[in-house]
Symmetry: C2
Subunit: 263 residues, 2 copies
């Protein structure tokens, strides 16, 4: 009947209301739409519906979960708001993907002071297999010394080197990742991760600081040592709030700036 959900609709009329009922000392309850949301998220995570694909319609999901369309709708509303899915009127609801202009700029806040953002051209400096340093391991909730993939690259805009990035990825999740794959791949790196390695970045936290370019950074960015740079340390998370990427970026902010909205 009521599937696995803690819904208690039986015979009688409409009106349900989740929450505790008379029976059972069950400790925690969550609203029905939250449970639906969790179920849908599971299907997304498991790859039952892949990025870019259409998910079942609201009516179909309502039937599957034996709840009203309104409840499914509220669940999907929240998923859409968290950018896990995208609603398109008349078409349906799609799994979000990093292969869209739309999603690109959520994770790249560096904008030119004037004019529209150009696409960067990427120069891969290095791709190595390394052991996780203590700090990286801590941030990714792994053990120090676990196998990792380390990537260093420089991004240029209009031929001007502007971003120097160093990434750490869990070796287990990104086994076949090589410099060649990175170089030949067209499009955003998170798109590559998503389609080739089945790991989709959902959200990230960043810590920003102003620092001076050391000799190494100065050389790669072709600037004077001591030039002020914007340091951005990012931790990215996939489904289930699992951290899967540590990234340390240095942005040259002479003709660009980091754009942020406080709302």
């Amino acid at each position: 009947m009521s599937s696995v959900l803690s819904n208690l609709n039986n015979g009688s009329a409409p009106g349900a209301g989740a929450g505790a009922s008379a029976s059972g000392p069950s400790p925690t309850f969550s609203p029905l739409y939250q449970q639906i949301k969790a179920l849908i998220t599971q299907s997304l995570q498991s790859g039952e519906w892949k990025p870019g694909e259409l998910i079942p319609s609201e009516v179909e999901l309502a039937a599957r979960f034996k709840v009203s369309q309104g409840t499914v709708r509220k669940a999907i509303d929240e998923l859409a708001q968290e950018n896990l899915v995208v609603r398109r009127q008349g078409k349906g609801t799609f799994v979000a993907t990093h292969h869209e202009v739309r999603a690109q700029f959520r994770f790249l806040r560096l904008m030119p002071d004037e004019g529209e953002p150009h696409s960067a051209d990427n120069r891969v400096i290095d791709v190595k297999r390394l052991r996780a340093p203590a700090e990286v391991a801590r941030l990714l909730e792994m053990k120090s010394g676990d196998p990792m993939i380390f990537i260093k690259r420089v991004q240029s805009f209009d031929g001007v080197p502007t971003i120097l990035e160093e990434l750490w990825l869990p070796g287990v999740l990104f086994k076949g990742l090589t410099a060649e794959r990175l170089i030949e791949y067209k499009g955003p790196m998170y798109g590559l991760f998503e389609t080739e390695f089945g790991t989709r970045m959902i959200r990230a936290t960043e810590q920003l600081r102003a620092v001076c370019a050391d000799e190494h950074a100065a050389q790669l960015l072709e600037i004077a040592q001591g030039t002020p740079l914007l340091s951005v340390e990012r931790v990215s998370f996939t489904y289930g709030d699992k951290p899967v990427e540590v990234r340390r970026c240095l942005y040259l902010t002479t003709t660009h700036h980091y754009q942020n909205e406080l709302s």
Copy 2:
């Protein structure tokens, strides 16, 4: 009857649906709940309900606007999401205010690298009446030379000068603002603006860059000239997306960082 709204409910059954009907070449339509949202926003802006106060209940608003409670609910949902209003179950819906811990950190993203954020102590350096420079006027959609209030202050954490700010405010809106008022006032500056001058900051945009401390900044922050600083240029907006503050901050990021969420 149907008030001022473009709702077309008459006699018949339930089910309404906004949008164009047979009559009239009316060009633009917006959903009912958007119109309700706009009306509520007007009441907030006009000061009919002041920050911290309780607004009428959903049922009361539904009656007033002659729509269903669900429609009012959707309008308020969006207002809550935009932080214009705060819902409290069992109590009611309140006008958001800057006099809450909750609201403080939305507009101050600088966090200590370790430990909990302390409250800053503020040292007002200067409060002047000036004419708007071209750049400030442009950002605030005013005319170059319009009367402005200029504020310069330094904020310290644990006795360490960390933030140097320069603010520009429209003189018309902040007439009675003096150094004394700023100094004697306890609590967040946006709280002062809200209660004393009736201008509530709703959202802001920030542009971040890494720069070097010039002589002036170095002196006030008690650091060496050339120290890298995080430059944050903010424009704040009040109701109706009207820009009412330009702020240029310099953050010392040796023991603090600018925290950001990408989601």
